[in-house]
Structures are given as structure tokens and as C-alpha cells.
């Protein structure tokens, strides 16, 4: 090691990769998946309707909480403390937090660095950029604020939970369960699982400790979060899909395109 008298000369750098498998497939799928979600999201937000089914109290997750003056009657469970923002649909209030949470999420970072920025597109496949500085400078240094988005994600998930509770609402006003209720329920479970499996959460509940043995409760929480954290990628996708799906379902019911399948009342 101390001997190296020869000069740096790497071997076999002429081609980008010698991988023979379909290494381009995962980044491509990621690219398509994320793009589809963004397109759907934008369309839905600018649609700015069909997000509230008063009969069963279904609120589309994209529009929760609905706190602007523009919200349809009944959809604002937390008051309307902002005026109608016109073209800016109600989601603009929470969207920055929700999107920020996902954008700075360690998993999504990996996903879009790889699939959108090709840095790198796959392991041992050369990236197309001439220089690279990582997350050391503005704007990427802001990724370090992820924990604040995590703090914000907890109330957001709580609001969605509230939405589910009130969605156990029958046509005649009492208790009721429809397919929509279940979809919202599954969605909120996935959202919670995604939120709690966050790396920042893992750090906050116990990861930052050096001596687990002195903090048995936090250690226990850390092991639970760690267990979920191992599936953070799967949860990220599952919750992304479920939130869009729940939204779509509510939209379809609200617009009258389909009727909710009622299981009980």
C-alpha cells in the first residue's frame, strides 16, 4: 500500500457499464411511478371539486384539512380560517408540508436522485454529470431539514385519522361502513406506517442514544420503528399509491360516477 510507485490509471473505463442485466428498469419504473403521481396530483388539485361526499362524510385525502373559504360546505372540520384563495385550491395549505416531507424523505431522495437525476441511474453505471457535490450545498443542503417535515407530518396524519373516524358514518346519520371507509382506513394506516418508519423518527425516538440500556422504553420504541424502517421503501410506495387511490375513489363517488359499496348502513 505504501509501495504504489505507478500512477493512477483505471481499467476499462471506456464504456459506461458492463452490467448485462436490465439495470435501467428500476429507475424507469420509479420515474414513471413518480411522474404519474405528480400528474394525477396536479390534475386533481386544479380540478378543485368532487372531494367531499357529505352523505358518508368522505373527505378526499388531498383536500384534508380543508381550511379555506373555498371549501365546499361540510368539508371543513377544522374551520375555515383562510379566505377563498381562488385559483389556489384548498390543498395549497398542507401540500407544502406533505410534499416537503416526501421530497426530503431519505427514500424518495434515493428514488429521484437515481431516476430523475441519474446520479447514479443504477449501481456501477456511470452517471452522465461532469461534476458532483452531493448534498453539501444549497439547495440540497436543505435536505437536512427533513426532521421538521416529520414533525409536521404527525398532525397531518392525525387529521387524516380524524377523517377516517368520521367516515364511519351511515346514510341515515348513525354508524356506517362503506368500501370508502375501508379504503380511507387502509390509507391512513399506511400513512402512519410510512410516517413512523421515517429515518428521522427512528433517530428521534432512540437512534440518537448511545446507551440503549439506560433507556429501555426508548430502546423498545427504537426497535419497533427500526422494524418498520426496514420496509420504509415499500411503505413509501404503498402509501403513495393508497393516498392517490383513496382520493380517486372519493372523487368517483362524489362525482356520481360510481356509488359507494355499503357494507353496513
Amino acid at each position: 500500500m505504501t509501495a504504489s510507485t505507478h500512477h493512477p490509471g483505471r481499467a476499462d473505463t471506456a464504456i459506461r457499464t458492463r452490467r448485462t442485466d436490465r439495470w435501467w428498469l428500476p429507475p424507469l419504473l420509479t420515474f414513471l411511478g413518480l411522474t404519474a403521481f405528480v400528474v394525477y396530483g396536479v390534475v386533481r388539485v386544479f380540478m378543485n371539486k368532487w372531494y367531499w361526499v357529505g352523505e358518508y362524510q368522505y373527505l378526499a385525502p388531498f383536500f384534508s384539512p380543508c381550511v379555506t373559504g373555498g371549501c365546499v360546505p361540510g368539508a371543513s372540520h377544522f374551520g375555515q380560517w383562510l379566505p377563498d384563495l381562488g385559483i389556489l385550491a384548498p390543498p395549497v395549505v398542507v401540500l407544502p408540508f406533505v410534499l416537503g416531507f416526501r421530497l426530503t424523505c431519505y427514500y424518495y431522495r434515493k428514488a429521484y436522485y437515481r431516476s430523475f437525476w441519474l446520479s447514479p441511474p443504477a449501481c456501477a453505471v456511470a452517471e452522465p454529470h461532469g461534476s458532483y457535490t452531493g448534498e453539501r450545498r444549497f439547495p440540497l443542503i436543505l435536505q437536512n431539514s427533513h426532521r421538521y417535515f416529520f414533525y409536521a407530518a404527525v398532525p397531518v396524519a392525525s387529521v387524516l385519522t380524524y377523517d377516517v373516524v368520521i367516515a364511519f358514518h351511515g346514510a341515515d346519520g348513525g354508524f356506517g361502513v362503506g368500501l370508502g371507509t375501508l379504503i380511507l382506513l387502509v390509507n391512513v394506516v399506511l400513512i402512519w406506517a410510512y410516517t413512523l418508519s421515517c429515518h428521522s423518527c427512528r433517530h428521534i425516538v432512540g437512534g440518537r442514544l448511545t446507551h440503549f440500556s439506560r433507556h429501555p422504553v426508548r430502546y423498545w420504541m427504537w426497535t419497533q420503528v427500526s422494524r418498520m424502517n426496514a420496509r420504509h421503501m415499500q411503505l413509501a410506495w404503498a402509501s403513495l399509491f393508497s393516498v392517490a387511490f383513496a382520493d380517486l375513489y372519493v372523487a368517483l363517488v362524489a362525482s356520481g360516477a360510481i356509488t359507494d359499496l355499503r357494507l353496513f348502513n
Binding site: 500500500m1 505504501t2 509501495a3 504504489s4 510507485t5 505507478h6
Partner: protein, 645 residues
């Protein structure tokens, strides 16, 4: 002639395994300018492969343990042929050496109260092996490597140069020691990367080159184990002792063929694994020798109880010393009760829950899954004996690790004596630390003692060494048809495996010696292709000379010792003979003064008998007389207290 890079050091340590690194740390800490030279990259020495643990009587798990118990186990395991002073130092100092590793940053597995956890192993009366899962060797080497780096960082702060006091020469092979008027003057070697030569001018050299297993076909050892240190010592004029004792580990992988020999750690048995033959029988109960009957269970129920209640039950016979287990497996296979690929079954799947197996034996799980498609949490493994360790080595002074040649020291597997005729599992890693440190101390005080009176290498000897190293490139005419080093290596491995293997007979060994003689001649005709830059053919050609020389020592000593003991089993002399207990066999190289080339001046190996010094009475008193009478002649026991009355 050729250009040679020159370095001057106080101490040159050859070998960067546990022994070498510990020696270097000690020498550096005592102010010596120290070099560590190793054939592979820094941190890759053979010690990384050790799995089970380090034996040290810390008594963390069973407080009844102590150095006396460890000493007794070691002597018993070695069938009382051990150098008792080494065994004593080893047992006494091992705990300190292990604790010291913690101060370097090692993280052993822990007991409930936060101490270092210890596990059971063959031949050890109490749980004694400090471990990290089944990758203890890796932890040991990494810890020492990081301590070397720590010392270098200290030098950097002081002198602005990481290598001011301690330098590692990685991928650098020593081919010769330079001896001047009977004293060590330096070492000669080459960079594997470039093929360029280097000369170390140094008054002291510590050999820590490990073992010789690569001379056998089925072995758990890596390519490094070509017996270089053994051969260097011989050629420098030192003696090797106990070379007939080669340990065959009972459990190596037997299938697939390309991994045959790779070790299956003894911890599998320590943690509950049992051996079965093709009939499903736990055959080890049939092979408990008379001398061990009192300590080992003779039925399954008692054996199984032992794992939970070791104080009131005898141990399962799977945990007999390695030589016993290896012979038993050999016998079962010979009797036709082997597994499909010529081994026996080692079963842990039916003994522990899958999760527990994965937690305790992660690298075994990994190894079988990746290399043999076997899931050890569901199926039994197939195992058979594999050449593992050489008990023999350089004859050294126990306290200073000095060999017979002033300035030459040896520690670790390359040193002989400590383990007698058979090494207990876990006793090697502790040996490395205890005697590595002592060798570093020994070398440092030797260098201090000679002051300015340092021998300098003679230029003509340096030229000789260079010429000798270049011979395979055909700069000297061969005296026969050119030979391929790979072919010769395979032939050698086959000879040693078949004729001087686990069970030995005089006619076979005679035959082996003839073949070795022939191989020795052919090795001189080895020709290699290409140039000197990272040329494995050339490297092997140089290593082969050492392998043949050392193999000859093994075969000659084995032929001479007409009894069976520990790692030496004779079909024609199956009994242990007390007359042999106090006899050691030492190999020396015969030099003829005439002859032009170095090869011509080396005449072959001579085996001499050396009496084993009698054990100090206070140590002898640690044993029950009844036990000693199984090994000793009556007159040797006159000093025993119960004999004196």
C-alpha cells in the same frame, strides 16, 4: 546487480496476523522503529478466518475458571508434550491480553452483567472463549490493525509522518533472512505488485508467518500458508520442533469439491450441534478414549443436560479434543457409514431454533447457503476432517520468544512448543497475543542489549538472495525439463494428503520422502512465464521451495516418532507411549560449506531428539496423580506431592 530498495529498521516483523501485529505494537511502544511485512494486504492475514473465539480464563461465565484450569486443559489437550512454561505463561496472561483488546476498541459479545461473554469449546472445561459471533478472528485482526493505525496517528502528530515509527509493507514477501556471523542482519524480499526487491537492514526479525497447511490438498488454510517462516528459520540456522504434529480439524466442508476443506467452526458443536453417521447414530459415544472417560458423558441424556447444567453432568463427546473427533469421523467413513460425499453429518438444525442458529452462527449460515446451497437451519451439514493447524514450529525460548539464532524471534503458529501434540480450539488466538507481545518485548530488549554493535548484511549474500529469487525466470539454466509450478504444487499436496495425512504408516512415509526428494529436485527447474509485476506463477514458484522443505520436516519427524499422540496417528504404532512423552523431535538443516548456489549448499533435513524439560513441581501438583500416570513414566512422577507423601 538488480536495483534494490533499502530500508533500515530496529525490528522487522514478518507477518501481519494476530501474532505479528501484536509484536509490532509492542516493539513500537518500546520505542523501536518497526516494520511489519506481509504477503497479503494489511488486514487480510489468515487470522481473519478464525471463527470460534479466544481462550482466556477470565471466569466471566463460570467463576470457577482460572489460569490453573486453563493450564491443565492445555496440557491435557497436548497430551503433556507441551512446553509447560509456555502453557503456563499463556494461561496466566491470556486474560490481560484480551482485556487489552477492549482498550483498543474491540467489541466482544457481552454477558448480562456487561462483561465479555465466553463460550464452550472442545477440551475446555469451562466456557472460556471470548468471541464475536463466529467472526472472532476478524475482530482480532481489525482491532490490532486499528491500534497500529492509532500508533501511526500518534506518530503523525508528533513527527508529521504516519510512518515515522511503524510502517506496514503490504503485499511484500520475504524470501530470505540475512545472517551475519550467526546473528540476524536483515531480511530480503520483493514487492508482489512490482516484483522489485527490497532489503531490510535490521538487527532483529520476528517471524509471525503462520502455518503450513497449503501443502495439503484438503485444508482450511489459505494460499499464504506455505510455511515460509518455518523455512526461513531453518535456512537461517534455527531448529523446528514438533513438526510431526499437524492438526486435522474434524469438521471441514466436504461438498462441493471446490470448497472442500473450508472450515466449519467448532462453535457449531459448542452450541449444541451433534455428529451423526449415515445410520443416524451419534457415533461419538463409541469413541471416548480411556483417558477422557471421566469427563465425557456416555449417553445422550446426560450429554444433552450438560448444555444447561454443566456442573452436574459430563460433557458431550462431540466436544472431545479435535484429534479424537477427527479420527472418529475418519473411522466412521472408512467403515462405510459416511454421508453421500464422504463425510458425516453435523446437525444443528434439529437442536436449536432457526433464528437462534442465525444469530449465533451467522457466517456458517451464510457460508453454507452461498457455497453449498444448504440451509443449516433445516438440514444437517456434511463434514469431514481438514488440515487446519501445525503444532510444530520454531523452537523458542518461552519467555522471550527468541530462537536459537540471535536476533531471530518467532511467535504465533510459526512457533512450536506451546500446544504440544494437539492444540485446543481458541488457544491459538490467545497464543498469538501472549507470545506476539513477548516476541515484541524480546526483540526490543535484544536490540537495546546490542547497542551500536549491529551486524550489517554482506553484499554478496544480498546478491545471492536476489539471484535465487530470480531463478524461475530462467536466468539460470535448468538441470532438467522445465516444470510448471501449479502442477508441482498439486503433486505435493496430493503426496502429503495421501501419505503423511491424518493416519500414517511407515512404508507410506518412506514413499512420501522419496517423492518429496524428487519434487525438491524438480522445484529447481520451475520456469515461469511473463515478467515480475504481480506474477502469481513466480510467487508460487518461490513459495514451493518452502513448502517442499517444510513438508520434508513433517514427513521425517513423523517417520521417526513411533507412537500415536495428538495430531500424529500411526497405524503401525497406534498406542501412546510414555517413553516418547519426554522426547521432542527437532529438525535442522544440514549445510554443506561447499557448493556454488544456495540450493546446492542445503543438504536436507536432519531430525534430532531433544529431551523435554521436566515440569516444575508446583505445576505438576496441579494434576491428580491418577491422571498423570496415564501419560508419565512412574519415575518421572517422583516429584508429585502425593507421591512424596
Amino acid at each position: 546487480m538488480t536495483e534494490i530498495e533499502r530500508h533500515a529498521f530496529d525490528v522487522v516483523v514478518i507477518g501481519a496476523g494476530g501474532a505479528g501485529l501484536r509484536a509490532a505494537i509492542e516493539a513500537r511502544s518500546r520505542g523501536m522503529r518497526t516494520a511489519v511485512v506481509c504477503k497479503s494486504l494489511f488486514g487480510k492475514a489468515h487470522t481473519v478466518m478464525a471463527e470460534g473465539g479466544i481462550a482466556a480464563a477470565m471466569g466471566n461465565v463460570n467463576p470457577n475458571d482460572g489460569w490453573q484450569v486453563h493450564f491443565r486443559d492445555t496440557m491435557r489437550g497436548g497430551k503433556f508434550l507441551n512446553n509447560w512454561r509456555m502453557a503456563e505463561l499463556h494461561a496466566k496472561e491470556a486474560p490481560e491480553r484480551v482485556w487489552e483488546l477492549e482498550t483498543y476498541g474491540a467489541l466482544f459479545d457481552r454477558t448480562k452483567d456487561g462483561r465479555i461473554s465466553q463460550r464452550n469449546f472442545g477440551g475446555h472445561e469451562y466456557p472460556r472463549l471470548a468471541h464475536v459471533g463466529d467472526r472472532t478472528g476478524l475482530e482480532l485482526i481489525r482491532t490490532l490493525q486499528q491500534q497500529i493505525v492509532a500508533l501511526q496517528q500518534r506518530d503523525f502528530q508528533e513527527f508529521g509522518d504516519y510512518e515515522a515509527g511503524l510502517r506496514v509493507f503490504g503485499e511484500c514477501t520475504v524470501t530470505d533472512l540475512l545472517v551475519e556471523s550467526g546473528r540476524v542482519a536483515g531480511a530480503f524480499g520483493y514487492w508482489r505488485e512490482s516484483g522489485r526487491f527490497l532489503l531490510f537492514e535490521a538487527p532483529s526479525v520476528v517471524l509471525a508467518t503462520g502455518g503450513i497447511g497449503k501443502s495439503y490438498k484438503v485444508t482450511s488454510n489459505s494460499w499464504e500458508y506455505t510455511g515460509d517462516g518455518h523455512a526461513l528459520a531453518l535456512r537461517a540456522g534455527a531448529a523446528l520442533i514438533n513438526m510431526e504434529f499437524v492438526q486435522f480439524h474434524p469438521t471441514g466442508m466436504v461438498w462441493p469439491p471446490s470448497v472442500k476443506g473450508i472450515l466449519v467452526t467448532e462453535s457449531v458443536r459448542g452450541d449444541g450441534g451433534v455428529l451423526r453417521n449415515s445410520e443416524g447414530r451419534r457415533f461419538m459415544f463409541d469413541y471416548i478414549p480411556e483417558v477422557f472417560k471421566e469427563k465425557y458423558a456416555d449417553n445422550e441424556t446426560e450429554a444433552d443436560r450438560w448444555y444447561d447444567d454443566p456442573d452436574h453432568n459430563r460433557r458431550p463427546p462431540e466436544l472431545l479434543p479435535r484429534d479424537e473427533v477427527a479420527r472418529a469421523i475418519n473411522a466412521e467413513v472408512k467403515a462405510g457409514r459416511g454421508s453421500p460425499h464422504g463425510g458425516v453429518f453435523l446437525d444443528i438444525a434439529s437442536r436449536l431454533p432457526g433464528e437462534e442458529i442465525q444469530r449465533r452462527l451467522p457466517s456458517m449460515y451464510h457460508q453454507f447457503r452461498e457455497l453449498a446451497d444448504v440451509d443449516i437451519t433445516r438440514e444437517p451439514m456434511e463434514v469431514g476432517p481438514t488440515c487446519h493447524y501445525v503444532m510444530g514450529g520454531v523452537e523458542v525460548d518461552p519467555d522471550s520468544a527468541a530462537s536459537g539464532v540471535p536476533g531471530l524471534f518467532a511467535a504465533g503458529e510459526v512457533a512450536g512448543g506451546m500446544h504440544g501434540s494437539n492444540r485446543l480450539g481458541g488457544n491459538s488466538l490467545s497464543d498469538l497475543l501472549v507470545f506476539g507481545r513477548r516476541a515484541g518485548m524480546g526483540a526490543a530488549s535484544y536490540v537495546e542489549s546490542i547497542g551500536q554493535d549491529r551486524p550489517t548484511p554482506v553484499e554478496s549474500e544480498v546478491d545471492n538472495a536476489a539471484r535465487w529469487a530470480l531463478a524461475p525466470f530462467g536466468e539460470r539454466g535448468p538441470d532438467g525439463p522445465p516444470e510448471n509450478p501449479y502442477t508441482l504444487q498439486m503433486e505435493l499436496q496430493q503426496v502429503m494428503n495421501d501419505l503423511v495425512g491424518i493416519i500414517r504408516r511407515s512404508d507410506e512415509m518412506e514413499q512420501a520422502l522419496k517423492k518429496l526428494d524428487d519434487l525438491g529436485r524438480r522445484v529447481r527447474n520451475v520456469m515461469v512465464e511473463g515478467h515480475r509485476q504481480y506474477n502469481p506463477g513466480w510467487h508460487l514458484a518461490l513459495d514451493l521451495r518452502n513448502m517442499v522443505l517444510v513438508s520434508e520436516c513433517v514427513a521425517r519427524s513423523a517417520l521417526e516418532r513411533t507412537e500415536s499422540r495428538g495430531g500424529h496417528t500411526r497405524d503401525d504404532f497406534p498406542q501412546m507411549d510414555p517413553e516418547w512423552r519426554h522426547q521432542l523431535l527437532a529438525c535442522e538443516l544440514e549445510h554443506s560449506e561447499s557448493g556454488e548456489s544456495r540450493a546446492d549448499r542445503m543438504d536436507g533435513v536432519r531430525v534430532l531428539r531433544r529431551p523435554q524439560p521436566a515440569m516444575r513441581p508446583d505445576l505438576l501438583a496441579l494434576f491428580e496423580l491418577a491422571e498423570l500416570t496415564k501419560f508419565y513414566l512412574a519415575e518421572e512422577l517422583a516429584e508429585h506431592p502425593s507421591e512424596k507423601g
